[in-house]
Symmetry: C2
């Protein structure tokens, strides 16, 4: 399940320009600079190649580093992909925590959270496919579930309690709502052949915006007090 | 992404008993009887083996037919799996069409439709994984999208128009709502490691019921006039 090539407003498929990965807080030195170049190169190539796995030499060429550096920095290609998933995940969770800490109303937090979840599927179109490939190898699925699922569930519990306290939300099961939101946001990207086949839509920026508005409205009305 | 072993009310994992596949309308004769036995055997084995592909000899043994019959009836194992997906899909779409033709209110139709979508993930836990495996081979994803997506989109368009006409629903984009519903229903099965890990839930009959109630309420409030 994956979405890869995003189309522009005119429905013309194009390779989406990769954004910059979230950066670590500390200043980079020595091998960290090389690690960073390799992560950014892999991120870019996965997007440009529509999710198809780039080779180590393609990654090193793009990063402008010696071929041996993938082994040196990550112990191999699998370690590099693992580190990329970890980086994107950590970035997403930091953003969630920053949102949780703001003074915004529960309603506004939910609105921004939904937009962020959808935006993450646009930003990291390869993330699902890559984590599934990694997960096939062992305990990665469990680790991902912990890394993303646990803080997100905490966010939903707090958000819903705040919304009930300020009289805007009805009592809703946070776990069930978490699955509803992520499921809705993911599916429009996962089921792209349904969207572009029978529905006759194009997965472009305009559709992402329309889908975000639809999802926010459905949810806010759905959980309104 | 797949859900395979369903747990019982007490949270004890058990192999879910396979139900009978939807039957063709005509009386079966000759080779059709054998085809039917092979389809039912594959359906049962996929559920019992938690989605892992059974071998041709395992399938024939369960069906009680000669080994050569898979080739004779389906041209091979891939053809057999393809026919199984086609059978489950056709069954699901017939049920949708029967629901559309009833005299029920739009609200009640949506309620039953959501329960049916969730029930289909319980009944055919292997369907997603199997279609993805088949889709990897070629145009199967497109065919599936047409086979399921087109009638479902038609159902949503009619349902929402009826609900607006009888004053119960607000104006909602049928395509967007279709993706919301299927996405919500699928994700709880697809992200089972999230459900059973950080959320500490068990994917059993009680959870399916709770999730169905939650989803129906969220949707009906979400699109209420």
């Amino acid at each position: 399940m994956n979405v890869q090539i995003i189309c522009n407003h005119h429905g013309v498929p194009r390779t989406r320009r990769a954004t910059r990965l979230p950066q670590p807080a500390e200043e980079l030195r020595g091998a960290d600079v090389t690690r960073e170049k390799l992560l950014q190169a892999t991120h870019e190539l996965l997007i440009e190649r529509a999710g198809a796995e780039p080779s180590v030499s393609q990654i090193c060429e793009r990063a402008g580093v010696q071929l041996a550096m993938v082994s040196y920095c990550f112990g191999g290609k699998a370690g590099l992909f693992d580190a990329l998933i970890e980086r994107t995940t950590t970035g997403v969770i930091s953003e969630l925590e920053r949102l949780a800490e703001t003074e915004l109303s529960a309603e506004e937090k939910l609105r921004r959270h939904v937009a962020a979840v959808i935006h993450n599927y646009v930003r990291y179109p390869y993330a699902n496919q890559l984590s599934e490939r990694l997960a096939a190898g062992g305990r990665a699925a469990e680790r991902m579930a912990e890394l993303i699922g646990r803080p997100m569930l905490g966010f939903y519990r707090e958000l819903l309690a705040d919304g009930v306290a300020d009289g805007r939300f009805r009592e809703v099961d946070p776990t069930m709502l978490f699955f509803s939101v992520v499921g809705m946001c993911e599916f429009v990207f996962a089921a792209r052949s349904w969207l572009e086949g029978p529905a006759g839509e194009t997965l472009d920026d305009a559709l992402v915006e329309r889908f975000t508005d639809h999802t926010v409205e459905l949810l806010l009305r759905g959980i309104a007090a």
